[in-house]
């Protein structure tokens, strides 16, 4: 088990290294020159050269990446002397646009994304699985049809559309919740939650639809299994046959998807953040893209990749626990 985790951690590091390298190559070899963008006007060749050297862009690409990795471990600084910009370890790059380390920006943005993700995930898991269960158990009834219709609507409606309509109805029309912005958890749980209710509900609705469909189809498959007949043949009440034996068997793929989704969202709930004007990681990324602030783009991409890769590993380990037939070796 420990050996498995160790091996997977190494694999994870390799994946991240490759991701970083690919990101670097793509972003710093492309025609848009970050130095020219930061150079200002008029941009004389001398200034451009100075800016290049300051940003570390005068070195070959692999050397730049090496310095990036060094910075990740030991921190780095840009420029020399008094004017040098400090980027302490782990340095994910330095935004010359904002004059601050990317890590600092991520540090402010991440709690927002976490708040959105965790609340929404809890909601959609509960409602999605419950809806799917009702649908599967009452297959063919009006319950099933209603739930299927609702989940199809959720699957087919883009998050931002649900979000905009939510803002319109709950925010503007009925004035139930604040329409945008974010309050820190430290400002009190009330304001925090009230700002988050709408994003939670929107994200949960869209995702719950997917989970309801998955739960339903998984359960229907499990219902046909012999061991479900066995459970009934033992004299177990339906409540246990469905709630324990069936759900337990259907759970593995649901848990897998849940882990991956959380990993993906922690890397930036891009659309939700945009719709509700919340300054999380996704906002940071979009802002970086808009301002052509490459270090921010690269830093956020790598940070997101880390969560996805980590979620992948956790899901695989979880799989080993959930399915005794899978041996982690």
């Amino acid at each position: 088990m420990l050996r498995y985790i160790a091996r997977r951690l190494i694999g994870m590091a390799v994946v991240l290294l490759i991701t970083g390298a690919v990101t670097y190559v793509i972003f710093y070899w492309m025609p848009s020159d970050p130095a020219r963008l930061s150079c200002g006007k008029p941009c004389t060749p001398e200034t451009l050269h100075q800016v290049r050297a300051y940003m570390g862009l005068n070195q070959p690409i692999w050397e730049q990446y090496w310095h990036f990795l060094e910075g990740l471990v030991g921190g780095r600084s840009f420029g020399i002397g008094q004017a040098a910009a400090q980027c302490p370890a782990p340095c994910l790059g330095y935004s010359f646009h904002q004059s601050m380390p990317v890590r600092t920006m991520i540090g402010t943005a991440f709690p927002v994304t976490v708040s959105i993700t965790v609340g929404a995930a809890a909601l959609w898991l509960v409602f999605g699985v419950a809806t799917g269960m009702i649908s599967a158990v009452k297959r063919g009834t009006w319950w099933d049809r209603g739930a299927t219709l609702l989940s199809l609507t959720g699957v087919a409606t883009p998050t931002y559309l649900v979000g905009l309509l939510g803002i319109l109805l709950l925010g503007f029309q009925w004035r139930l919740v604040p329409v945008n912005g974010y309050a820190n958890f430290t400002d009190g749980i009330g304001p925090w939650a009230s700002h988050l209710i709408l994003p939670w509900a929107v994200l949960a609705f869209v995702n719950a639809a997917v989970y309801a469909r998955l739960t339903r189809s998984q359960l229907l498959e499990v219902f046909g299994e012999d061991y479900i007949t066995t459970a009934r043949a033992k004299g177990l009440p339906e409540r246990i046959v469905i709630g324990k034996h069936s759900l337990r068997a259907a759970l593995t793929p649901i848990a897998t998807m849940f882990g991956m989704d959380i990993g993906l969202l922690l890397g930036g709930a891009i659309i939700t953040e945009k719709v509700f004007s919340m300054q999380g990681l996704g906002y940071l990324l979009l802002q970086g893209v808009g301002q052509l602030d490459l270090p921010v783009v690269v830093g956020v991409t790598l940070f997101s990749a880390f969560f996805v890769v980590a979620a992948n590993l956790l899901v695989d380990i979880l799989y080993g626990y959930l399915d005794p037939r899978v041996s982690l070796a």
Binding site: L220, A233, K234, R248, A249, L322, P324
Partner: protein, 351 residues
């Protein structure tokens, strides 16, 4: 529908332990309604074993599910069966009994051993937990007592180191050992009726005999009645008291096992016997499979369902085999004398 004399009741008999009367099961499918069991009758007494024999699709497994109440709409999430007729256990009618009552009986008074233990055991729970669960549904008592009971049963069915192996998962057992686990689970509440649905089909030939012996042993020990479902007359030979031969959901003939082997009455039974390998048979003799394939249940035959595959239809006057359903058992239009004349002797059965 009359029963063969050996299995029928006289009016003054006390109520039999299990009595199935005119059992019929229909399944609604996308292509139409399918009658999987059609007018089945049998009785079974305590301590006796009944063999239900037929090819796949003959309705024998559906019969066992019907007896266990596993086709009822309140206890299925997969099927859509309609059951009619009567199933009486200790005089109590089961088809019309409330769901609660059926649940009480299931696993305690009647229990079932399934064909493929790998798919019939839950892959995510340890075998000990699954057996203990079966015990705890019907018995008050501590978790520990149930666990103890599970280990005890695992030992009884011949699993070495039962206490440790109780924590293992089904996939960690061999096929034969898994079937022993299944048997232990079926026995955990001392059932009065034990139904074994093709209990050896999924197993290696070498293990089959051991499992059959084990089932016979525990049945003796527990004094329960048993139904053994199989497609293999060879399995029936040494294990059961009475046999019901089924084809296309209908009973072809019923007889005590000795009589069935000595003087089988139905051409279908002759075919089954001819296609069953026998240890004491002539080794040069080739097995003769029954020509043709089982009928399509979507289009039930008006007459004898076996007629299309039967080579003796020309011995019956007119086209009774194709048009008339045989009224009595054995369900065959051949005259008794003809049957005696045509019956292949077990020695020179097939050509």
């Amino acid at each position: 529908m009359s029963l063969s004399p050996e299995l029928s009741l006289r009016k003054d008999d006390p109520e039999p332990f299990l009595q199935v009367t005119d059992l019929a099961v229909d399944f609604a499918t996308a292509d139409g309604s399918v009658r999987a069991v059609d007018g089945l009758n049998f009785t079974l007494e305590r301590g006796r074993t009944l063999g239900l024999v037929g090819e796949s699709g003959s309705g024998k497994s559906v019969t066992s599910l019907a007896v266990m109440g596993l086709l009822r709409p309140d206890s299925t999430t997969a099927g859509n069966a309609r059951t009619s007729g009567e199933i009486r256990l200790n005089g109590e009618e089961l088809l019309s009994a409330p769901a609660r009552r059926i649940r009480e009986l299931r696993g305690r008074t009647m229990s079932m051993i399934f064909q493929d233990p790998l798919s019939a055991l839950h892959p995510y729970y340890s075998v000990g937990a699954q057996i203990a669960e079966a015990y705890r549904v019907h018995h008050k008592g501590s978790r520990k007592a149930a666990k103890e009971r599970a280990a005890e049963l695992l030992g009884r069915v011949g699993i070495p180191r039962p206490r440790e192996r109780a924590d293992d998962f089904p996939h960690q057992f061999s096929g034969g050992m898994r079937q022993r686990v299944m048997i232990a689970m079926a026995l955990v509440n001392d059932p009065e009726l034990l139904i074994a649905d093709e209990p050896t089909t999924a197993l290696d030939v070498t293990v089959q005999a051991q499992i059959l012996e084990l089932i016979a042993d525990v049945q003796q020990e527990f004094g329960s009645a048993a139904i053994l479902i199989t497609h293999d007359l060879g399995v029936v030979a040494g294990t059961v008291d009475d046999v019901v031969i089924m084809y296309a959901g209908r009973t072809m003939e019923t007889a005590p096992v000795d009589r069935l082997f000595a003087a089988p009455q139905h051409p279908y039974t002759w075919g089954l016997l001819g296609s069953t390998p026998r240890l004491d048979g002539d080794r040069r003799k080739r097995l003769a499979p029954i020509p043709g394939s089982p009928p399509n249940l979507l289009e039930p035959a008006a007459g004898c369902p076996f007629a299309p595959r039967c080579v003796f239809t020309d011995r019956v006057e007119g086209d009774a085999c194709a048009t008339d359903r045989p009224a009595a058992l054995p369900a065959c239009h051949l005259a008794p004398d003809d049957r005696d004349a045509l019956r292949p002797s077990s020695r020179k059965a097939a050509s």
